[in-house]
Symmetry: D2
Subunit: 343 residues, 4 copies
C-alpha cells in the first residue's frame, strides 16, 4: 500500500514542530482581531527584527510561497517590466504561470543553476543598448532562491556582487527563502541571517518547509517597496482572516533559534546520507550542502527503493534515474539509516 511508504520526496510531508503545535493549542480560544492585527503577529515581527538586528525592515506574513512570489513581484513591477531568473527558477517552472497571471514576463537569462553578477550585467547592458527597446520587456527585478531549487548555495560574496549590479542598474533583488533555514544552517554557508536585509531589497523566510504548518514571512528592507504593501496581500487572496495563526507560528520558530536548529538537524542528516552514498560509489547531480540531495541511481535500484520510499524523480535516461531526497525538520536518523540500508 502506498500509504505505508516512507516519504522522502519533499520537505512538507508532515505537520509542524511540537512547539508550534503547543502554542496553537494554548492560544486556541484566545480572542484576537483578524487579518494579522493581533499581538502574536506583533510579537513575531519583533522577534524577527531583533534576530535580524534591524528595526528598519517591514515584515508581512503570507500563507503560501506561490502567493509570496506573486505578491512581491507584482507589487514591485510596472506593467511593462519583468523579472530575471535562471531557467530552473521556481517562478519559471513550478508556479503554473502565477507570475504571468499578474501580467509580468519571467525572463530567463541562463540555463545554469545559479545567477552570477556578470550574467545579469550582460543582460542589462544589452537591454540598454537595444535600439528597439520600446518593444522589449524591461527587466526591473532579479529573483533568486537561497538555497536554489537544486539545493545550491550562494556565497556572501556572490550575493554582494549581484546586489551591487542591481543597484548600479537601478533594479531590485528579491531572494526566495522557501528553504532559508536549510540554507543558512549549511556548514558551507557564510551568510548570516542578519546580513540578508543588506544583501537584497526584499526576501522571505520560508515557514512551510521549515517547521511550520504553513506560512512565509516577507522582509522588506528597501523603502521603495514598503508603501501600501499590505493591500497586495489582500487582493491576491493571501490575507488570512485568522492572521494570528501566522504570528503564532513564527513566534515559536524564532523562539530560542528553533528555526535555525531545525535547519541544522535536517542538513546534518542530508550530508550524512550524501557522504554514506558517496562511500558506496553513488554519484550526484549537484554538490549540495543543504537538505536536498540528488543521487544518480540505476533504474534497478530506483525500482527497488521505491517499493519502500517515495522519492522525486528529477530526470532519467536509459540507464539512470536522478532522484531528489529531502530531509526536513521532522526527519530522523533512523529513517536515513533505513534508506541507506537499501544500498
Amino acid at each position: 500500500m502506498e500509504e505505508k511508504k516512507i516519504l522522502l520526496q519533499c520537505d512538507y510531508t508532515q505537520g509542524c514542530h511540537e512547539n508550534i503545535m503547543k502554542a496553537l493549542i494554548d492560544t486556541n480560544l484566545v480572542q484576537t482581531n483578524g487579518y494579522g492585527f493581533d499581538e502574536y503577529c506583533e510579537s513575531a515581527k519583533k522577534k524577527i527584527k531583533e534576530r535580524l538586528k534591524n528595526d528598519n525592515v517591514d515584515i508581512y506574513f503570507v500563507i503560501t510561497g506561490t502567493s509570496t512570489n506573486q505578491i512581491v513581484i507584482s507589487s514591485i513591477l510596472r506593467p511593462y517590466e519583468g523579472v530575471l531568473t535562471v531557467e530552473s527558477g521556481h517562478i519559471n517552472v513550478h508556479e503554473t504561470g502565477a507570475i504571468e497571471t499578474t501580467g509580468h514576463k519571467v525572463i530567463v537569462i541562463t540555463k545554469e543553476l545559479k545567477l552570477t553578477s556578470q550574467m545579469i550585467e550582460n543582460y542589462l547592458i544589452q537591454q540598454i543598448n537595444d535600439k528597439l527597446n520600446i518593444h522589449v520587456v524591461q527587466a526591473k527585478l532579479v529573483y533568486l532562491s537561497l538555497p536554489t531549487e537544486n539545493g545550491l548555495l550562494y556565497s556572501k560574496n556572490e550575493l554582494e556582487k549581484i546586489y551591487e549590479v542591481c543597484k548600479k542598474y537601478n533594479i531590485y533583488l528579491f531572494i526566495d527563502g522557501a528553504r532559508l533555514s536549510y540554507g543558512l544552517s549549511s556548514l558551507k554557508n557564510d551568510i548570516k541571517f542578519e546580513d540578508l536585509p543588506n544583501l537584497c531589497d526584499v526576501f522571505y523566510i520560508g515557514g512551510t518547509k521549515c517547521g511550520a504548518l504553513f506560512g512565509e514571512a516577507i522582509v522588506i528592507s528597501n523603502n521603495d517597496i514598503k508603501k501600501n504593501f499590505g493591500f497586495n496581500i489582500k487582493l491576491r487572496g493571501a490575507l488570512l482572516a485568522k492572521g494570528r495563526l501566522l504570528g503564532i507560528q513564527f513566534n515559536e520558530l524564532f523562539n530560542d533559534d528553533i528555526y535555525f536548529k531545525i535547519g541544522k538537524n535536517a542538513v546534518d542528516l542530508a550530508l550524512y546520507l550524501k557522504n554514506e552514498l558517496i562511500k558506496k560509489g553513488i554519484q550526484f547531480y549537484v554538490d549540495s550542502y543543504t537538505n536536498q540531495q540528488f543521487p544518480i541511481i540505476t533504474k534497478e535500484k530506483y525500482n527497488e527503493i521505491t517499493q519502500k520510499f517515495e522519492v522525486s524523480k528529477w530526470s532519467e535516461d536509459n540507464e539512470f534515474v536522478t532522484i531528489r531526497v529531502c530531509t526536513s525538520w521532522a526527519t530522523t536518523k533512523e529513517i536515513i539509516e533505513q534508506f541507506l540500508n537499501m544500498f
Copy 2:
C-alpha cells in the same frame, strides 16, 4: 487595554473547534503527499458528498474566501465577461479588487441587499436588446451570498427562481457560503444542504467563519466548470503545500454534523440577543435570522458598550450608530448575557 475587550465584531476571532484541534494533534507527524493528494482530503470529500447525497459533484479545498471567489469567478469567465451582484456584495466591497485583478468587471445591478430573479432577468433582457452590445461587458455569472453580507437568507423558492433565470439565459450561478453553517442552521431557512448542488452551478462551504482555523470547500455541480479546475487554485497562489490541513479540518466538521451543530448554537445565541434587545426597544437595520445582528443604538450607548466590547460600526448618522454583532461557533451564552447587561 484594548486586549481585554470581548470581541463580537466578527466571527473569526478565535481558533478552531476542539475536534479539529484534536485531529491536528493526532495527525501531526503522519506523513502524507502534498497539495491535497492525501487520505484526509479524500475522506473529507467523501463525507461531504455523502452528506450532500450526491456523488457527481467535484470538491476542492482552498485556504481563503477571497481566493475562493477569485478562483471560481476567474475560472468561469472569458475575458469579456463579468459577474452580477448586489452593491453590498462581498466581491464588490470587501475584496480590494480581487475580482477585477483577474480582469473581470463586477456588475452591480441593485442597491437592494438581495437579488431577485426579476432583477437578473431585466438586466439580461436589456443586455440582449442593447444594439451597442459589443461595447458592453457580458454578464455570464450571478454571485450571491447565503446568508448575505447583512445576514439575510434566500428562501428555496427564491433561489429556484434565480437559478431558473440563469439557466434560461445560459449564465451560471455561484453561491458564496462563507457563513453557510449559520444560514442553513437558521430556523427561518428552508433550504437543505443537499438541495444546494441543484440550486446553483457551484457553491462553497465556509470553514474559516464556521469552526475551522481556515479553509473553504468548493462544490462544483455543473460539469462545464469542472475541467482542469485545480490548476486555477495553484495559479492564484491558493494551493496549500500541506493540503491535508484542509482535509483534516473538513473531515471533522462533517463528522457527526458538527458543521451544522456549530451553526445552530451561534444562531440561537444571536436570536436570543436579538429578541432581548427588541424587548428593550432596540430597532434593527435588517430582520436577520442568522449569526449577524445589526442593532441601531444611540451614540451614547455605542460609546458605553465599546468600553467593554468590540463591535463593527456599520453606519452612523448624527444620533445613531448601526453596529454589527456576530456570534460564532465559540460564543457562549455568558458573553451574550454580559452584552445584554449593558442595555
Copy 3:
C-alpha cells in the same frame, strides 16, 4: 435600403478633414522610421505644445480611445488602486471591461451625469476613515470626460475645484477629451485649451471624432506619470508601426486652428437644431451646448424619422424615445434642415 439613410447617430461616420487627406496623399511615399519616431510626429507635438503655450508636457499619439483610456489608467494605478467616475462614465459602460481587463476597478460614486469636487471629497474622506480599508480598493485617479458622455460641459471653476481636491488627497485627475474639440468650441465653455495642462495631470485630445481618420493625443503634465510611458502603449497593442500617420493627422488638425474650427461648425449646427426643435415644442434630456443633442420624441415620430435618418436610441418608455443626434466636422446645414423638416 438602410445604406441610403442619413447617419446622425454618432460623430464618426465619415473619413477625415480634407487637409488631412491631402497630407496623407502628399506624404505617402516618403520614407520614415516607424513607431512614431519620425518628423511628422515631432512636428505635431511641437505644434500642440505651442498651442498649449507649454513646453513641459509629454505628448503621445495612440490609435483608439479605448486604448488611450486603458493605457493612461493602467500606467498610473498600482494593483490595489481604482479609478473614480460617474455611473455613465465611458470607461464604466462602453469599454467592454477594458479597464478591468488591466486589473483595476472602476469605482462609481454617483448616478449624476457630472462629478463635483464635493462628491470626490466625500468619497475620499470615507475611504480614509474606513477602518477596514485594507479590504477596499483605493481610489487613486479621477476620470471625467469633457464634454461628458451626454454632451455636458464642466466650467473652469468646477474643474479647478475638482483638481484641488485631487491634489489635496494626493490622487490624479485624467480628462477624457474624445470630443474635446466640440467641448472647447461651445459658446458656454470658459476653458481655454492652454488651461488644460494646469487643470489636470493628464488629458487627451480626441482626433477620431474630431476630423481625423483615427487617433488621440495624450498630453501629460504631471512628471510622475511621464516616466517610461511609451512602453505602456506598446504592451497594450496600441503602437502603430507607421506611427507617422498619427503625426501627419495631428499636424494638420493643429495647423491654422483647424481642430477648433471643426468643432465650432459642428456645435453651431447642433445648437441650431436644438433651438429649432425647442421652438417646435420638443423637450430635451439634458441642456447640452455641444455637438450631441438628446431630444425626447414620441414613438410615432421616432418611427417616422428613422425611415430617413439613423439616430441613437438613448432610452425609451411607453410613449417617448430619447434619441441622440450628433453633428460632426462633416455635417452640413443642409442635412440639419432636412432633419428639421421631419418635425
Copy 4:
C-alpha cells in the same frame, strides 16, 4: 542628415499602395456605421473568403499586429494555459510582454529558428507525463510565423505534420502572417493561400507590412474559437471606430490579387540583392527566400553603408555585423542597385 538616408531596415517605412490611397480618397465622405459594421468590411470579407475558396471561416479586422497576437492568444487560452513558440518568436521578444500582460506564459521550447512537429510532441509528452503537472502551465496553443522572424518558410508538409500533432494532443495552432504576402510569394513556397484554413485553427493576413497603411485580417477556421470573438477586439482597445478603413484597405489588397503581386515584387528584389551579394562573396545568417535578407558584413562595410542607408543591426561580433535588409511593396530596383553599388 539622417532624414536623407534610404531606409531598408524594415518593411513599414512608407504609406500604402496607390489603389488603397485612391479608395480612401473616393470613400472619404461616404457615411457608414462604425466599428466594422459597414459595406466595405463586408465586401473585403467576402473577397478574402472567395480567394480562400472557403465560406466557413470567420474574418475580423484589427489595427495592429501586437493587438492581433494579444487578442487571438488571450481569447483562446484559459488562465492556466500558455502558448508554445521558438525563442526568437515575435511574441517572445518584440511585444514588450503584450502576451504576459493578458496573463499567459509564452513557453519557449527551442532556440532553433523554426518549430518542428517533433519538438512540439516531445514537449507535450513530457507535459502529460509530468507528475507535478498541477504546478506547470499547460500548453494549449502553438504559435509560429509564416515567414518567420528571420525570413524562413515552413513547407506545406512541415505545417501539416505540426498541425497533426496539435490535433493529436488537442491543442490549437495559430499562424502569424504579418508578412504573409512575402512568404506566399516566395518561389520556394509550396503553400497555397487557400490551404491555410486547413493547416491551422486561426491565422492572420498581415496588411501593415504588405501594402496597407495599417491593419491585419484574422481568419478563424476552428469553430471553437469563433464564439463571441469580437468582444475580445473591443476589450483590448483594438476596435477602430471607423472600422471601414480596414475594410476599404483589404478590399483593395484582395482586388485583382494585389496582395500577392506586391509580395512577389518585394521578394524578387530581395533575391536579386541576395544573389548579387553572394556573387561578391558575402555570406548570410540564414538562407532566406523572402523579403528579409541577413547579410554578414565587416564592421568597416557596415560603417560605410550606414552613411547612406538605414539597416537593422541583427547581431555583431568583433569583426562582423549581421544586418537585416528588407524590401517591401514600395521598394524599387533602383534603390537595390544603389545599395549593391556600395559593395
